[in-house]
């Protein structure tokens, strides 16, 4: 019984923490994330939308942010697990080839479905 209480208390604590996190993020709703959201860096007008398959785990998806943010032409990134979408924000007048994008995703364990540019 004591164990059950501990487990339930831990669960309650995590729900509370999650609620706090949501509050802090305020305004980063699901729709905003896919259009204007940002996981890291900054938003630019030059961006690439990528639809991905298999990106279900946050812990593993962190590698995508890490690898893309190391590239000099990348200014920001948004990862949306719910819609399986990643937006890469690029420096003005720069680009990353589709084959490079696909390779990075495959190296991280995911499959690219579509790649679309804003221009």
């Amino acid at each position: 019984m004591k164990i059950l209480v501990i487990l339930l208390s831990s669960l309650l604590l995590t729900f509370t923490t999650h609620a706090t996190n949501c509050h802090k993020e305020g305004g980063h709703s699901h729709d905003e994330v896919t259009t204007n959201g940002l996981s890291s860096g900054e938003i630019t007008d030059n961006f690439i939308n990528i639809n991905v398959n298999g990106m279900v785990c946050d812990f593993c998806a962190q590698s995508i942010e890490k690898v893309f943010m190391k590239r000099i032409e990348v200014k920001g990134i948004n990862v949306d697990l719910e819609d399986q979408k990643v937006v890469i924000y690029l420096e003005k007048e720069t680009d990353i080839e589709d084959t490079t994008i696909s390779t990075i995703f495959e190296d991280a364990g995911y499959t690219v479905e579509t790649i679309n540019r804003n221009s």
Binding site: S39, D80, E82, D107
Partner: protein, 216 residues
């Protein structure tokens, strides 16, 4: 009680038929992972590096408490198959290792000998559900020979966004046929945020589990 045994056995069989595992034994290309697994039987510290999307190489230090032996081994993990779907991912892994076992247990006096181990595991997960299965063996020249199986079912009570704190509730069934308790139930709480993963568990004998994973 009989009903509970039947249900647990059924779960074990179903878990075998479905898929499974915990954190990926093969990381992204160029990624390092450090893991610490601690339960009633053993304490394990392992690190691995993934030079390709299909393989990782690592080093393991393990201490088995009841039999008082240390294992130092090199290991290799191979991603045999990955299935990416829109809202799920499944993985099938093969693992192997070779190293040195050292023990002072009972009649053994600082005995050293070669030890090898192998494992196959598979997992399937969505944002909400998780199932995994792993079977492994360990064989040394004369000290020990062990076969273990582990299956897990888990669900996330809420779906957290990218970068937020994620929580999973998991039920694990652990089988070691040579033990008095051949089947052990373990309840595990998994938390992860960013590249840090923590698991806290307690089994039917009130023994605790503490696992930690950090990915670089």
């Amino acid at each position: 009680m009989k009903k509970a045994i039947i249900i647990t056995k059924l779960f074990f069989i179903l878990s075998f038929c479905f898929n499974n595992i915990s954190a990926r034994p093969v990381s992204y290309v160029g990624g390092w992972t450090v893991m610490s697994y601690n339960d009633y039987y053993r304490n394990t510290l392992l690190t691995h590096y993934s030079p390709t999307r299909k393989t990782s190489y690592g080093y393991t230090i393990q201490y088995w408490q009841n039999t008082e032996y240390w294992i130092n081994a090199f290991n290799i993990n191979y991603l045999a198959k990955r299935i990416n779907k829109k809202h799920s991912q499944a993985n099938f892994y093969l693992k192997g290792g070779l190293g040195l076992l050292n023990t002072d247990y009972e009649e053994y006096n600082n005995k050293n000998e070669l030890v090898s181990y192998g494992e196959f595991s598979f997992d399937w997960e969505t944002r909400k559900y998780f199932t995994s299965y792993a079977a492994n063996f360990m064989k040394s020249e004369s000290v020990d020979s062990t076969f273990m199986q582990k299956a897990r079912l888990g669900f996330a009570p809420y779906t957290a966004g990218y970068g937020a704190l994620h929580t999973w509730l998991m039920y694990e069934l652990h089988s070691m046929p040579e033990n008095d308790d051949a089947l052990i139930s373990n309840f595990v709480l998994r938390f992860f945020k960013s590249t840090n993963l923590l698991e806290l568990g307690i089994d039917q004998n009130k023994n605790t589990t503490v696992n930690f994973i950090k990915r670089f």
